[in-house]
């Protein structure tokens, strides 16, 4: 009992002593990072965290952000949303009301970004989701932005590319019916392809469910349908299985993918089977130039692997925040006013030069930007092949 009392008294004394030091400095600008550090997709959370921290290093090396001729220190509030919708909402609420962040970057996956966007919009706090492709994330939410292109854009990009490159007529699609992103993209692709080649040109539209590992029945059907290529907008673990199984069944035609292929793991798991295949994505790591290359080299040196698209998009989101803050001109210290100013500046961003391409925001908060078609080279690298703009 007495020990406890002494402890409490000591704590009180320390609390009182350590008080005044925090007051003299300028209040830092706080940026919230709402990332899935644990849960289903920890690699995504890691990429987000690393990219954001790299950006912070740059800023702090300059001694802070210069806004309207005054330097402001920057602080990141990184929180884990466990890849769960309700945790993402909790984290967003906490950051906005407790930590009083100026802007939130993330969440990444749509199932967290849609409900978290609602929170951000209600509290009139700008939010940029680097990776969420669901239209609902930004729809009718003036305070919510994203840094990636949407599925309705990516579908036609791939269809056009294949038409021009190979002049194929018959397509097959294999996708996960239970997952939001592949399903949406598969449908957009189908529509685009049929617009190009007439109805019935998608000869096989096969689906499976998340965590399936045997695709032989679907692939046999596809093979018998006489399709000239397969489009499969799946994640890296399934891509490897699909490609390998297709080759085992003797399917020799190309297999084409989407931005979900753009993980370092794809080639690791898939090996030689994936060499020479194409997919559309946000940026290409091999053969990158200028700022993009600088980012990749730095990231690789620091963390030991080539950053995937999440990291690159997060980096762009952070740079967008920086640009908007500088454009905003001044920080008043009144959080509502600054958030409003930042949102207006973000909405006005034009021709922003990101490492994933030039961006201009539309009314909805979605960027107009180019997609990149990547070829997996014989060395297993993601090689820039072609840039496709809207």
């Amino acid at each position: 009992m007495r020990k406890g009392m002494i402890f409490v008294v000591v704590c009180m004394a320390m609390g009182l002593i350590s008080t005044p030091s925090a007051w003299s400095k300028t209040k830092p600008i706080k940026i919230g990072i709402n990332a899935p550090i644990t849960g289903d997709i920890p690699k995504v959370g890691e990429g987000t965290k690393f990219a954001a921290q790299m950006w912070l290093e740059d800023v702090m090396a300059d001694g802070g952000l210069t806004i309207g001729g005054k330097k402001y220190p920057v602080e990141l509030v990184i929180e884990d949303n466990e890849a769960k919708a309700e945790s993402a909402v909790k984290v967003a609420t906490k950051m906005i009301t407790e930590d009083e962040i100026l802007v939130m970057v993330g969440p990444q996956a749509s199932k967290q970004a849609v409900p978290a966007g609602e929170v951000a919009n209600n509290y009139k706090t700008p939010m940029i989701s680097p990776w969420s492709t669901n239209p609902d994330t930004t729809k009718e939410r003036p305070y919510v932005f994203r840094a990636c292109f949407l599925d309705p854009f990516q579908g036609p990009v791939i269809a056009n590319f294949i038409k021009e490159e190979f002049n194929f007529k018959k397509a097959a699609v294999l996708y996960d019916v239970a997952s939001d992103y592949p399903k949406g993209l598969a449908e957009f692709f189908k529509k685009a392809w049929e617009d190009l080649n007439g109805p019935g040109s998608v000869v096989a539209f096969e689906s499976f469910t998340t965590k399936d590992t045997d695709f032989s029945s679907q692939l046999t059907k596809i093979k018998q349908s006489g399709a000239e290529f397969i489009f499969t907008p799946q994640y890296y673990n399934e891509v490897a299985l699909i490609v390998q199984q297709a080759h085992e069944l003797g399917f020799k035609a190309p297999i084409v993918g989407s931005d979900s292929w753009g993980s370092a793991e794809t080639v690791k798991l898939c090996g030689k089977d994936c060499y020479g295949l194409f997919f559309s994505t946000h940026y290409a790591a091999a053969g990158a130039k200028g700022e993009t290359k600088k980012f990749i080299d730095r990231y690789k040196e620091k963390h030991g692997y080539v950053p995937d698209d999440v990291a690159a998009l997060t980096w762009d989101a952070m740079r967008l925040v920086e640009t908007a803050l500088v454009n905003c001109g001044k920080i008043t210290g009144k959080i509502e006013k600054d958030r409003q100013c930042l949102r207006d500046a973000l909405a006005k961003v034009k021709d922003f030069n990101g490492i994933t391409g030039k961006m201009t925001f539309t009314e909805e908060g979605d960027p107009i930007k180019c997609a990149v078609v990547v070829r997996i080279s014989e060395k297993g690298e993601f090689e820039f092949y072609k840039s496709v703009c809207p």
Partner: protein, 439 residues
């Protein structure tokens, strides 16, 4: 049971020499305080925080009032630890202890008078006081409101699963499925009626009617979940144990798949834009209703029949317990409350997607039930509140959180295999009674 009691006595005796004196002092100091006394103590503390919290944080150099008893602040910024501790001691510990102690005799007198008047009145006043405490506490920050709402929903969910897994002793894994059915039916009802939506078209009724229809929506969601529970209840007549677990697990996956393939309610994209109806009062009222009704249910004859079925189904049947009816009732009843919890959950988040109701949710609910204690209302409340707050408080630890919490569960399973407070009856009358000093 006999054996367990004996064991507990022995451990108490063997630990006796050192801690007993301190415990004795604390116990003497805090004995004889009725629930009413504690509640008024907490009320004083939250009022203090509400009015003086900001001034105190300024003096202590804290950026804001420590939101979850200082846990988050301390883990994120260890430098602020002394300040947070002082805050907790000054605002919570001392006021609660002092008010509860000094007001004990007055509180006892009031409690005695209330309980003599009627138990219902006494319970009502206690609940009002509890709500006042929660409301004032949560009023400080929107984050507290959200955490509190989700915690209360978790209490409902845990308690309803306890009816099947604890009281009836079947291992059912279908709870996320029931919750999903409730969440979706309730959302479709409110979104269809009150929101201009691209799926269901124009709102059919003006939005000001929405709060009045919300209970209807929740009951509808609960009933739909109960109807869906037939798919698990009927097989449970013939199967037990592992087999029922598999069937109920299959049910959960079926529900998830069905929703994923129903394009009209959003498919895997999920369903959003529910009207903002689940405020703290609504969630609190439904949770109280849930606890009250489930507690009455498990203390009724039918509830005792559940225990009979758990202990020995054949013997129960021989002793004229209608096992089929019992199982059917238990499943439908538990599913109803899971459905209501799902409906509230959907309206708190204002977005649902089928991925939310998967195996991870199942693991969470099961953990809360087994951590808190089987066959006990206290246990369910403790389990849900404990794991929820712990999960929230340890969030800054990121990966280590997932080591600490499972470790805690393992320790609980080793030292208290049936959960923290298992097999304890919740008798409202006894809880509300005045207490007199022991010793």
């Amino acid at each position: 049971m006999e054996k367990k009691k004996f064991k507990m006595k022995r451990t108490n005796a063997s630990q006796a020499p050192v801690p007993v004196r301190r415990k004795g002092l604390m116990r003497r100091w805090f004995s004889g305080i009725p629930l009413l006394g504690w509640f008024s103590g907490i009320l004083v503390a939250v009022l203090l925080e509400h009015f003086l919290g900001d001034a105190l944080t300024e003096v202590l150099g804290l950026p804001k009032i420590p939101v979850l008893f200082g846990f988050v602040t301390m883990l994120k910024k260890p430098a602020l630890m002394p300040g947070s501790l002082v805050f907790i001691v000054l605002v919570y510990l001392i006021p609660v202890a002092v008010t509860a102690r000094l007001g004990a005799s007055a509180a006892n007198a009031v409690a005695a008078r209330l309980i003599r008047r009627s138990v219902g009145l006494s319970a009502g006043i206690h609940l009002l006081l509890l709500y006042a405490c929660l409301h004032i506490w949560a009023d400080v920050s929107a984050y507290r409101v959200l955490t509190l709402k989700l915690t209360l929903i978790a209490v409902m969910l845990t308690l309803s699963l306890n009816v099947i897994n604890g009281y009836m002793g079947e291992f059912s894994c279908s709870h996320p499925g029931f919750m999903a059915v409730g969440a979706y039916v309730c959302s479709v009802f409110t979104v269809g009626l009150f929101v201009n939506d691209r799926i269901f078209g124009q709102a059919l009724l003006p939005p000001f009617l929405a709060p009045y229809f919300f209970p209807v929506a929740l009951i509808l969601g609960g009933s739909a979940a109960a109807a869906a529970a037939l798919f698990v209840a009927i097989p449970s007549f013939r199967t037990r144990g592992d087999y029922l677990a598999i069937i109920s697990l299959a049910f959960m996956f079926i529900v998830k798949s069905v929703i994923e393939n129903l394009e009209i309610i959003g498919g895997p994209r999920g369903l959003g834009s529910q009207p903002d109806l689940a405020g703290l009062p609504a969630v609190f009222v439904w949770t109280v209703l849930c606890v009250w009704i489930i507690n009455n249910f498990v203390r009724s004859t039918l509830g005792k029949a559940l225990n009979a079925v758990r202990d020995d189904e054949l013997a129960a049947e021989a002793m004229t317990v209608n096992t089929r009816r019992t199982k059917m009732t238990a499943f439908l009843f538990a599913a109803f409350w899971a459905g209501v919890a799902g409906g509230l959950f959907a309206h708190v988040l204002r977005y649902v997607n089928p991925g939310t109701f998967g195996i991870q949710r199942l693991a969470e609910v099961l953990a809360m039930v087994y951590f808190g204690g089987l066959n006990s209302v206290y246990g369910s409340i403790l389990g849900a509140v404990g794991l929820n707050l712990l999960g929230e408080a340890l969030r800054p630890l990121e990966l280590f959180k997932w080591i600490l919490i499972p470790l805690l569960l393992i320790l609980v399973m080793i030292f208290r295999p049936k959960g923290l407070i298992a097999f304890k009856e919740f008798d409202p009358k006894r809880v509300l009674m005045p207490r007199f000093r022991s010793e």
